[in-house]
Point group: C2
Chain length 107, copies 2
């Protein structure tokens, strides 16, 4: 569950601009503010089922956007390479230029 | 016009997965293969106006996606920083780590 929450937080971060205001609100309450479905349904004065359905649909949409645009996956690859690169520069190793070129070609 | 073509090629590259098959086909013929509107309308057996309207709508959609997700702009920023970084590493300057950290925080 924790892993799913982390993933949803990242996907939300990357793709939230593509969601409707309502989808964004529910996701913020549920994933960022840690409200329960019941609390969100009271806050917005809608049924718990309606909140649940909306959030499930939004999660599916976020995964579909990720399948198409791959932003989270590429973000992680870049961050890993930048970490390696920093170590390489700090140690004065030879492979820094190679890592930079991998980064240039990643986009 | 050349500048617009370059920009559209990039935007198409970043966001084509979000388009329909028809939108993608027309854009490929028009921007990548350099077909004229008339040639595309003959190829697909539709009116020249229909092709024109579809391409204009697609261009607007691509600009809207860019406004929301900023992928092309961030790509350009990263590429500029990677170029600087490469020069910095080659010269053995002190600012390489700083540039790497800017890149880490750019995402």
């Amino acid at each position: 569950m924790l892993e799913k929450t982390t993933r949803m937080n990242y996907l939300f971060d990357f793709y939230q601009e593509l969601l409707t205001d309502k989808q964004r609100s529910y996701m913020e309450y549920y994933y960022l503010e840690d409200y329960s479905l019941g609390e969100i349904s009271e806050t917005f004065n809608v049924s718990r089922q309606a909140v649940y359905d909306n959030i499930k649909r939004t999660e599916t949409m976020l995964e579909e956007y990720e399948q198409k645009l791959d932003l989270y996956d590429r973000f992680e690859k870049r961050q890993r390479l930048l970490k390696q690169l920093k170590e390489s520069v700090q140690k004065g190793s030879d492979d820094a230029i190679e890592i930079i070129e991998t980064l240039e070609n990643l986009d």
